[in-house]
Symmetry: C2
Subunit: 140 residues, 2 copies
DNA sequence: TATTGTTATACTCTATAACTATA
DNA sequence: TATAGTTATAGAGTATAACAATA
């Protein structure tokens, strides 16, 4: 059967992304984290005392959707939260969060390596740059 | 703020794909079709009398999820369905479906062009090939 | 036995609107 | 007025299991 979408950038991105997301979800399963939760965990790890809404802006997650994600990380005892000013709340990883972050990073590294077998460092950087350029070509 | 996901292929694919999917949905809005429905429409157009389950296999849509998509296309009067054998059902576009397909193709072309400003034909083919290779590197 | 299509259902991610409290 | 966080809700896409009808 002819697939008329084969040559479409948007379609290829969607399929490639779906494959990697499915594999990532499976790779993270032993940590009990979903991809979105893991991405927030890594963002907190890289930016101690960051404010919740700022993570959302950086990761493209809306404020309203950050709430249950952070609630999950708090409920699992990975993150500590304290008032930054009266309305903002700073997030930091505690000891368990840091330990789990190391495991998450290792699992993501293994996962990523599965999908870039034949690309050298330069080709990988070019590919990432092209993807950023696609993302940045957003229409307004 | 540092985004520790910036260099991850999976993350860049996800973000780029999300941007294009959002724009595609908006580009298709005047047709009343969602991206998934449009993709099935194009698949039928390219493969007259194709069977429903085969479209699903080609597009990565499960049988169970094809049912409501095809039902929408039937309800909109774009597609005709007839028994292929006792259990399979052949799908063809009728006159309205063909007309809407032309509009969908035009809108997708415009949409795609927005996101590949500086790539020549060779670079585009290379990029598509890399995305196929990512997709094919699926673990089992 | 395997396949087609269907139904029902659940989960993940995303989107919007409205509310409070603080700045 | 604008921002941070919350709540509630809806939609779109995807996933699985079970079923009837047919190959």
């Amino acid at each position: 059967m002819i697939n008329p979408l084969d040559e479409l950038l948007g379609y290829r991105l969607r399929r490639a992304s779906a494959v990697m997301m499915t594999d990532l979800a499976r790779s993270l399963e032993p940590t009990g984290l979903r991809p979105t939760e893991a991405s927030v965990l890594l963002a907190i790890a890289a930016n101690p005392a960051v404010v919740q809404s700022e993570i959302g802006r950086a990761l493209g997650i809306q404020r309203a959707n950050m709430t249950p994600i952070v609630a999950t990380l708090l409920a699992r005892g990975l993150v500590d939260r304290s008032a930054s000013d009266g309305r903002s709340k700073s997030l930091v990883l505690n000891e368990w969060g840091q330990a789990l972050t190391r495991e998450v990073k290792a699992r993501i590294d293994t996962h990523e390596a599965q999908f870039m077998p034949e690309l050298d460092a330069d080709a990988k950087q070019l590919l990432l740059a092209q993807l950023r350029s696609v993302e940045g070509a957003r229409r307004h």
